[in-house]
């Protein structure tokens, strides 16, 4: 740590509590840009039924592999289904699995980590051992194995994600609890009879929420990419449901002539990922201010 850090830190502590109010108001611009992008995707997902011109499952073999036209904005796939509509409906699936695939582990992880950190003892040991074992495994390989066991489908994918991704959140809240536990003023508060949930609420929670918010967007990206990859491999959402990764896979054999079948869904994925990353980076910047 340099002297300048010490100096500015000293200067900052004096005015820190006063300034916190005004500093909090200013979210960096990129968060809004990202939120707008993600918001657009969410809207598409929610209003899919209104936005999609065709039924995503409706086959029309005569019209298979048609070029983009006014009737079919992105052409049709190998079974004659309208690609544009499938893309819109796929947004629903990818978004919901992506978001749930990040939220569920966050919730489960936070609960487990809080239990471990708060109660300690055997509960803590068990939870931490479990965490170590889960982390030692190559994540996605285990997901493949779990999906194999549980069968394909959204449910098993979500279960698999949750079983593997909870660890980071658990460790986060657990270390925060452990850190807080030893602070003087917390011990004083407990001696004075202040209920634990109060302490958790006012000290542990704010710190944890900040970091969780930073993790979440990138976890959503990972979950979405994970789903797309699994579907690409044929191990994710079963056909004929429309899903971005599955569409990319289906389009691969036709890459020479109908190249848009694979490339466009990929661009859609990238767009979603970028929007989320902007939010994530923006929040990170903001929490460090």
């Amino acid at each position: 740590m340099s002297i300048a850090d010490d100096l500015t830190r000293e200067a900052a502590t004096v005015t820190a509590h006063v300034d916190l109010g005004s500093e909090r108001a200013r979210l960096p611009r990129r968060v809004w840009v990202g939120a707008a992008i993600v918001g657009a995707y969410v809207l598409v997902g929610v209003f899919a039924a209104w936005l999609a011109p065709y039924d995503p499952l409706a086959q029309d073999p005569i019209m298979a592999l048609a070029n983009p036209s006014r009737a079919h904005w992105l052409g049709t796939d190998e079974l004659g289904r309208d690609v544009f509509s499938r893309l819109i409906y796929a947004t629903r699936i990818d978004l919901s699995v992506g978001i749930l695939g990040a939220l569920l582990p966050a919730v489960v992880g936070t609960v487990l980590g809080a239990v471990g950190g708060y109660f300690g003892g055997w509960r803590d040991s068990v939870i931490m051992r479990l965490a170590d074992v889960v982390q030692a495994f190559p994540t996605y390989i285990l997901i493949i194995a779990l999906v194999f066991v549980l069968g394909q489908g959204i449910g098993s994918i979500l279960v698999a994600f949750t079983l593997l991704a909870w660890v980071a959140y658990a460790r986060l809240i657990r270390s925060e609890i452990l850190r807080i536990r030893d602070l003087d003023y917390v011990q004083a508060a407990r001696a004075a009879g202040l209920p634990s949930w109060r302490i958790l609420g006012s000290h542990v929670f704010p710190n944890v929420v900040g970091q969780t918010l930073v993790y979440l967007p990138s976890d959503i990206v990972l979950a979405t990419l994970g789903l797309a990859s699994l579907s690409f491999l044929g191990l994710g959402i079963p056909l004929p449901t429309a899903e971005w990764g599955a569409m990319i896979a289906a389009g691969q054999p036709f890459i020479r002539e109908q190249w848009w079948l694979s490339t466009v869904p990929g661009l859609v994925v990238v767009g979603f990922g970028l929007g989320l990353s902007l939010i994530g980076e923006g929040i990170e910047e903001w929490t460090q201010r």
Partner: protein, 314 residues
């Protein structure tokens, strides 16, 4: 010497970890619904026939016995027989592993060739134009699904130029080399952003440290500082991060092999999963887990070699 003992201790600790992994793999797959006997014999088998097969496979014995038997077999290198091909799993692993190693080797090398210079550039002038550009590109790299990148490369490079095949591994070494280029590039693109990010972070951290200030105060040149002070100290945390991302890298191999139809262990596990081939999945999962553990071990050893502060925690 402290470091040597650390390495030995680390090696010893790996054994229970491996046993745990075998147990986990065994249990997880034991819970799979579906009757292996039926898979082998077919739908029209009678109950007696099925029972015979189950006996043969040892499926009627208590779980604990099955586990011990399994461990024993694994230690002997016997990973069972694939339901599909009826070939020993071990054989198909042996055939496929080299292909994956080619991919990981070239891809990893390429990734480092990209990430080390970019990481250094980024860290030299943080938050300036170059840094922002590199980080932006990295961000894009991370959000692009690797299979999509592969397909785009096939579309844009393989098909028009015909220099590289759109898939497969070929028979001869020159063909191997040609076949591995695009997959390796794809792997490098998906892995480099992570490497750049962590290298940049540890470089910036080290550059701001007091001992670098001491070196600078001694009048050492920037390049000498960079080599002897900065890189040497930034490597251990970077290597640790890379190792931790091994799982990610292996999955990348799985996806890329499928995209480019490379006959490696990645494609192997996917085919096994699609085909509901239990012994094969067991074997491949075990293999992947062992590979990851091996990589962690190597990373720890390399870190110990590079960082003299590593000692046994008593």
């Amino acid at each position: 010497m402290g470091r040597f003992q650390f390495v030995v201790k680390r090696l010893l600790l790996t054994i229970p970890l491996l046993l745990g992994i075998v147990l986990l793999v065994f249990l997880v797959l034991k819970l799979t619904p579906g009757d292996p006997a039926r898979q082998i014999v077919g739908l029209r088998a009678t109950e007696t026939q099925l029972n015979e097969v189950r006996d043969q496979l040892g499926l009627n014995d208590p779980i604990a016995v099955q586990y011990v038997r399994y461990v024993g077999r694994v230690l002997h290198g016997d990973l069972g027989y694939s339901y599909k091909s009826l070939q020993p799993v071990r054989t198909s692993i042996a055939e496929r592993l080299p292909v994956t190693l080619w991919l990981l080797g070239f891809g990893g090398l390429l990734a480092m060739l990209i990430s080390v210079p970019c990481g250094i550039l980024s860290a030299l002038h943080p938050n300036r134009a170059t840094d922002h550009a590199i980080r932006a590109l990295g961000l894009v790299g991370l959000t692009m699904p690797s299979f999509w990148v592969g397909i785009v490369l096939i579309l844009v490079v393989a098909l028009p130029t015909g220099l590289f095949p759109a898939g497969g591994f070929g028979q001869t070494v020159p063909e191997h080399l040609r076949s591995i280029v695009l997959p390796a590039v794809t792997l490098a693109i998906s892995v480099a952003p992570i490497q750049i990010r962590s290298l940049r972070a540890s470089l910036i951290n080290v550059r701001g440290s007091d001992y670098v200030a001491t070196g600078r105060a001694m009048g050492l040149s920037e390049s000498r500082l960079m080599r002897r002070f900065v890189l040497r100290n930034a490597s251990p945390p970077t290597i640790s991060v890379l190792a931790l991302n091994m799982g990610f890298l292996l999955f990348g191999a799985v996806v890329i092999e499928t995209t480019f139809a490379l006959p490696g262990i990645g494609q192997g596990i996917v085919l096994a999963a699609r085909g509901r081939d239990l012994p094969a999945i067991q074997g491949y999962t075990l293999l992947f887990a062992v590979l990851v553990v091996a990589v962690y071990l190597v990373a720890d050893i390399v870190t110990a070699v590079l960082d003299p502060r590593v000692e046994i925690q008593a």
